[in-house]
Symmetry: C2
């Protein structure tokens, strides 16, 4: 199909399609004549995946490239795809304080969690604790302990979803990558909904009006 | 204090401080002479809050401005601050399909959640469902039902943290705004950690190596 048809089918503009090819996210189409390029079903599928990671998952172009490369590399174990996806969805420029890092690690250790030193979630949580300290609101840091047990439930479900695809490496890799990137958005969206429900039913104070 | 001292104290560059003043996030300092401006403690506190929302919470400049204005407006009920913060941390340009919206609303209705039609979480979750459908992975949408109950636990804790500040409108407003924006980052970070733990302890398949 021509680029106009690919654009119509996927809802991605022709300019964005060309941009993704230049950025190495999408394989180039086949040149079939002067100024004409043919695309096939694989391009449509890949564009949908790019849009999911980039627009809905909020990944950067370079993070999307890294995740797609991890999915495509069939020799890469699924555990490495998970680590790549986790790095891609995390801020990497944070430099948390030793005290905050120690507190996050102790929350994991207290619960018997096996978490490596370079897990990007440790630094992300520690950075949040540092920001609470900056605004003299250390009391808000209690969410770290409060969230830990419900989040373990969530992670168990995430990994069961991966196990459902056992035996199909490519499908597992996609589940891990897409689930990591879009699961955050789903979690945040549901939290908005649940917060409104609890605020409305908990009595006066936070449910004044919407 | 001079801008250099304010920069040193908060870790925010002088260029960024001037940018935040121009963007209306930070009140201007007091002109005390030719090319000299004095800042006080209130500027340092506000800069820490801006950095928390903008850098760690990942809010845009305009979303940060809206949240700060909601915190500052003492006539605004805390419930409206919550709605403002929720809108600020959500994508507003999504246009989910009617089918996905209906499924998200039914997950809330099945659990007796009271959620208004304009809750931004509904559209965010529906957008994720649409992306799963695009890549022919409707099976991944099961995370919507899986996440709902743990997330309700999380939201209950969030609202209890707000209730702890009862009687102090400004502190409640800050708790709601900062908790909404930075709670997502904490949740995502903990999910990274818990996923690694579950992958490592669940046996072969996803724990190959890290």
């Amino acid at each position: 199909m021509r680029i106009a048809e690919l654009s119509r089918r996927t809802g991605v503009t022709s300019a964005s399609i060309k941009h993704y090819v230049r950025e190495g996210l999408l394989p180039a189409g086949e040149r079939i004549g002067y100024n004409q390029t043919a695309y096939d079903e694989s391009h449509a599928g890949r564009l949908h995946l790019i849009r999911a990671l980039l627009d809905t998952g909020g990944l950067s172009v370079s993070a999307t490239r890294a995740v797609l490369a991890a999915i495509d590399d069939e020799r890469l174990p699924v555990g490495r795809v998970l680590a790549t996806a986790q790095d891609a969805v995390s801020r990497t420029d944070a430099d948390p304080s030793p005290g905050a890092l120690a507190r996050v690690r102790s929350v994991a250790a207290d619960r018997g969690w096996t978490v490596s030193d370079d897990n990007p979630g440790v630094r992300q949580c520690a950075e949040v604790l540092d920001r609470f300290a900056d605004i003299d609101r250390d009391d808000l840091g209690g969410m770290l302990e409060r969230y830990a047990d419900p989040v373990l439930d969530i992670a168990r479900g995430d990994l069961r979803a991966v196990a459902d695809d056992r035996g199909d490496r490519d499908r597992m890799a996609e589940t891990v990558a897409v689930g990591t990137a879009l699961g955050d958005a789903m979690l945040a969206g549901l939290r908005r909904m649940a917060q409104e429900h609890v605020a409305r039913t908990a009595g006066p104070g936070t449910d004044d009006e919407r």
